[in-house]
Every structure is written in C-alpha cells, then in structure tokens.
C-alpha cells in the first residue's frame, strides 16, 4: 500500500469504529431496536480486503457486517438510519443491523443464518467464471461458521470447480459466548480444514490492514488467473460483546487486555508514522471521521419513519406483495 492508500484505509477504519461506537450508544439509549453485532476491532479485515478488490467484485457478510457494508461504500448515515428504523436506511428499515446490503457496490448482503452465505459466494464466483467477467467473490464469516455443513460444502465445491472465490474467516476466538476451541477439533478452525479440500490457506494478523490487503491482493490475483479459491484465516478480536448489551464476561481479562493493545487503528497509525505521515494529518482524518459520524447521527435521528405501507412492498419483483386474486 502507498502512504496515500494506507491513509485512506486508516480513515475508513476510523469511520467504521466511530459508527460502531455510535451504534452501541444508540442501542443503549433505546434508539436502535432489535439487536446489533458490532465489528469494532474487526475493521482491518474489511478495509484491508475491500481495498484489494475491484469495485465490481462481490462481497457476502454475516450479521456482524457493518464494517463490510461501509468498506464497500455504505455511508455511516445509511447504516445508522437503518439501525434506527428510518425510511432512509440502507434497506428502508426492513432489514436492520443484521442484513445491511449495498448491492449497487457488489456488497450482496449480510446473512443471519450462520454459514448460509458461503455457498452463495461460491455461486457468485461460478457466475463470474461462466460470464468470463474476471470478477471475484468473497465470503466473510466467523470462526463458529466452520462447524456448519454449508462451510464444508462450499469449500469443496469451490475447489473442485476452481472458482474465483476467497473464504475469509474472521477468527475472533468466540462464537456467541463459547470459545471456538471448546467445540472444534482443530486449533485453527478455518485454516486447518482447507487441506481437506486441497485449498491453499493462510493464517494472518487480521488487525494489520496492510497484511490483510496484501494477502487478499495475492489471493484475488490467483483467483482471476483461474487458479481457484483461497482460504484466509484472519485473527482478530471484537471490542464489544457478541450482540446487544452483552458485557462479554466470559472472556478472560488478560486476553482482552492483550488484544486491546493490538488495536487495528493503533497498528495502522504506527505504520503511517513509520512512513513519515505527519501526526497532524492523521489527527485531521480522525476529526473528519468524527464530524461525519456526528452528522450521520443527527441526520438519521431527523429522518422519517417508514410508511406503514412499506411492510407490503418488495415481496415480489414487481414491487408488490399480492398473493391471491
């Protein structure tokens, strides 16, 4: 990454962090209903990956997907408005936090059934291959998803069909409240499975945006050359609990402390400083991100609620919901 690219990546990560913090506060104050699964701590995976992709590539994410939507161009305002059930939200308040989608930018959705989207990403890659478009597809998923059948079926299919797809595991050590190691037969839940599907795998520092970017760039190049899928296990950690107001008491204090000291924003900042980017430039990006998110919160708060009739739109491709004569 050039210093400019890294600075942009850093800015995007700060924007995501601020938005997640806002989502947390708004949930706590009752303005965000239902549930949230915050990605604070995971920013480098999304930003490192998407900065290595073409704008027309495809991305599939999980219910913990705010960072992926934003890394693919969803604005803080669109995201927060969706979380706050506003008509101006990314999905018109019909999806909510778990289903952020920005299809115009190739961000083909956030899925709340664990593992469901891995075969979809394989399918999008198959489509790219059939059309000869040179696009690639990426599925981001958690460590916990590696124990569901869809993960294994998708990996095998992608390997035997040599599909241009990357499977990116965000290994944050936990499923909801149970450590992944307690229920998994191998130490590296994703990477250790790849050999069974004859797929190259890499375990990387998911909190270092440069490492993520470079790994993804290599894997995407392989995929575009027709050399098939890659599995990437990005080690990371969530700063908040699993969802909602989960205080994450099941995580040992020393583990939390160790990971908090390896914050992806700090890692990126250190790299920027090492490249000679002046601290004022970085501070300026911080300020701009804060201002953008503050404005997004205000705009979302002022945005209208959805009209009741919206409940009966878009079941069908004609925009309606008719089911009988």
């Amino acid at each position: 990454m050039t210093p400019e690219e890294l600075l942009d990546a850093y800015s995007e990560m700060v924007l995501i962090r601020r938005t997640e913090k806002a989502a947390h506060d708004l949930f706590m104050s009752g303005l965000v209903k239902g549930t949230t699964h915050l990605a604070a701590g995971h920013e480098a995976v999304a930003v490192g990956a998407s900065s290595a992709l073409r704008p027309d590539d495809y991305v599939f994410a999980t219910y913990r997907g705010h960072h992926h939507a934003m890394a693919r161009g969803a604005t803080p305002e669109e995201c927060l408005a969706e979380l706050m059930s506003r008509a101006t939200g990314l999905c018109q308040a019909k999806g909510g936090s778990m289903h952020l989608t920005k299809a115009t930018n190739g961000m083909l959705g956030s899925y709340a059934i664990v593992g469901a989207h891995l075969p979809m990403a394989a399918g999008a890659a198959w489509s790219a291959k059939l059309r000869g478009s040179g696009q690639v597809a990426v599925a981001f998923f958690g460590d916990g998803a590696t124990n569901i059948g869809a993960f294994h079926e998708a990996l095998n299919l992608a390997a035997v069909w040599s599909l241009p797809v990357m499977f990116v595991c965000e290994n944050n050590l936990y499923m909801e409240y149970t450590p992944i190691e307690a229920v998994t037969a191998v130490p590296n839940p994703a990477a250790d499975r790849a050999a069974g599907y004859n797929m190259p795998a890499e375990i990387i520092d998911g909190n270092d945006v440069v490492v993520v970017h470079e790994t993804m760039a290599r894997a995407a190049e392989r995929a575009r050359k027709g050399e098939g899928p890659t599995l990437i296990e990005a080690q990371t950690y969530r700063h908040f609990g699993h969802s909602r107001a989960d205080p994450a008491k099941y995580r040992p204090a020393d583990e939390v402390e160790r990971w908090m000291k390896h914050d992806p924003l700090d890692v990126a900042r250190a790299r920027l400083e090492a490249l000679g980017v002046p601290p004022e430039t970085i501070a300026d990006r911080d300020r701009r991100a804060a201002a953008t998110v503050d404005a997004a919160i205000a705009a979302a708060k002022n945005a209208p609620e959805p009209e009741p009739a919206l409940a009966f739109t878009d079941v069908w491709a004609d925009g309606g919901a008719a089911w009988r004569t």
């Binding site: 209903k33 239902g34 019909k94 709340a112 593992g115 569901i148 059948g149 229920v183 609620e305 409940a311």
Partner: protein, 331 residues
Amino acid sequence: MADVTKAEKFTYRDAVAEGIAREMRRDPSVVCLGEDIGAAEGVFKTTVGLFKEFGPGRVWDTPISEQAIVGAAMGAAMTGMRPVAEIMFSDFLACCWDYLANEIPKARYMTGGQVTVPLVVRTANGGGLGFGAQHSQAVENWAFTVPGLKIVAPSTPADVVGLMSAAIRSDDPVVFFEHKALLAGSGPRPPEGHLIELGQAAVAREGTDVTVVALASTVPLSLKAADQLAGEGISVEVIDLRCLIPLDMRTVLRSLERTSRLVVVEENPYQGGWGGTVVSVVADEGFELLDAPIKRVAGANVPLPFADSLEAEVIPTVDKVTEAIRRLSAY
C-alpha cells in the same frame, strides 16, 4: 428447589429450565445438547442452572452444527437416551430440516415400529422483538406440515413446566416452541409432578359470544382483546390450544356449540398457517354450529420487516383481534 413465596417471580424462561431439570432429576437418560446452553446457560437464559446441577456429562455444548445437533439427538434417542436438543432460534430449524421432515418423523413408521425416537427439539420461536426476517419467524406451521411430529407451544410458565415434562416423557418426537416474546412474563410455579397431557387445550377464559382459538403469544393477546371487549358487552371465550399435534378439536367444537362464532389467532403466516386446518375441521364437522363466517387473524404473507412499526403491521396485535371479534359479533 426454591420455596414458593408470594414474592417469587417465576418466569416463562425459568419454567423452561425448571421443566427440563425436573425430568433430568427423575430420569438419568435425559440429556441436553445445544449451542451455548452449558456454562453460558443459553442465549435466552432458558437453561439456567442445568450445567451447574447436572454437569458436562448431561448438558453438552455443541458447535454451530444444527444437523449434527438434531441428527445426534435422533441417534441417541434410538438407543436409549431421551435427548433434549436446543435449536437457538426456530428459523434455524431450516438448517436441519432433513432430520425433522424426513428422518425423525418417519423412523418408527417406515421400520414397521422397530424404532422409537423419544426426543424433544426445543426452540425459541416468534416475533415482536424486532429481530428481522431471519430471527423473528413463527414457524410452528413448518412442523405442522409433517405427519409424525408432536408440536407443543405453551403460553404460560406453568404450562411450560407441565408440557415439558410430558414432552420429555413422550415416546414420540416433540418439537417444543418457546415464544421469545413470552420469556420475560411470569406466573405461578406449578407443584412438583405437574404434568399436562399432550393434546389438551385449555379454556383460558370463558365466554358465550365468540370463541377465540389461540396459541402461545396469541393467547395473552386474545385475553387482552377479551378484556377490552367485555367493556363493550361482548363475552369472549379464549381457548389456548397449547399443542398443535395432537390438536384438541373437541374443546374447540364444544365451545362453538355455545358461541357459534369463531376467530382463530395465529402468528405464523396466513398462507399455510395452522389456523387453516382448524378452520377446515370446523367447516367439515361443525358447520351447523356456526352463525357467522369464520375469521382468521394471522401473520401477513410477507417476510418479517425489521422496524417495530412495520413488524406490528404484519403480525397479530390486540387491535386486529378486537376488530375481528367486533365484526363477528355484529354479524
């Protein structure tokens, strides 16, 4: 066991754990498995205390592997255990549907009675909490399409306990729907040994003008509607089915002998909802009892939207139920 005191709050979610614990105490073949049910005590806190009391030998944390959870429960049930498997949200039943549609309900029948599958699949069902399209569905009608499954969906803490005991003791497979919107509600703790036979509806409120047939979340909803309408001089009888299979049509038909008017309130979609079957039995066997058309208040035929205001548009509400009853009683 806690003493029964007036101050004690016994919630629906407590009742789930209590119902399971009572059976685990009396029958060592009862074992539990599911995601986050052990040390974490369940994401809905419906397995609180089980891991502590019975230990990891009887309360097993699983990977996120719904097929393995239900498939293994089936294998264990075929070989002498009485597994209680948790599928965290009922929406995820789709991930292991082969076992619930093709394997578990057929095993006994297609082996000519050689194999018995005494298991319970428990799951958090239903909407009203703004969890969106993949975490809010009322899917009791999915199970209702499969002959060979018993289906329980209680509305009160005492019923949870009594029906849990019956479900675990049942030699037939049972799908046990715990309604998310009812978990925090409370009621009296039933005495030890409390057992409710599967397939017995309860008359939750007696009335003479209109019969309302309800299940799980729609029971409190219908009771509220009945309260409101009492003020307008309409006397509503509310029947809590408690189980969908066996379906207690006798209680429904008996009620119609007195009221001659029927409203069915179900949270699953109108399209394919269980109310359609209730209504068709009434049409077949109780046509002469009726003095008015039948009304179904059901989930709309759309996926569930996220925003609270939109969700209320598409699931049954007290207003929708009162409106339906008023119309019928004016017919």
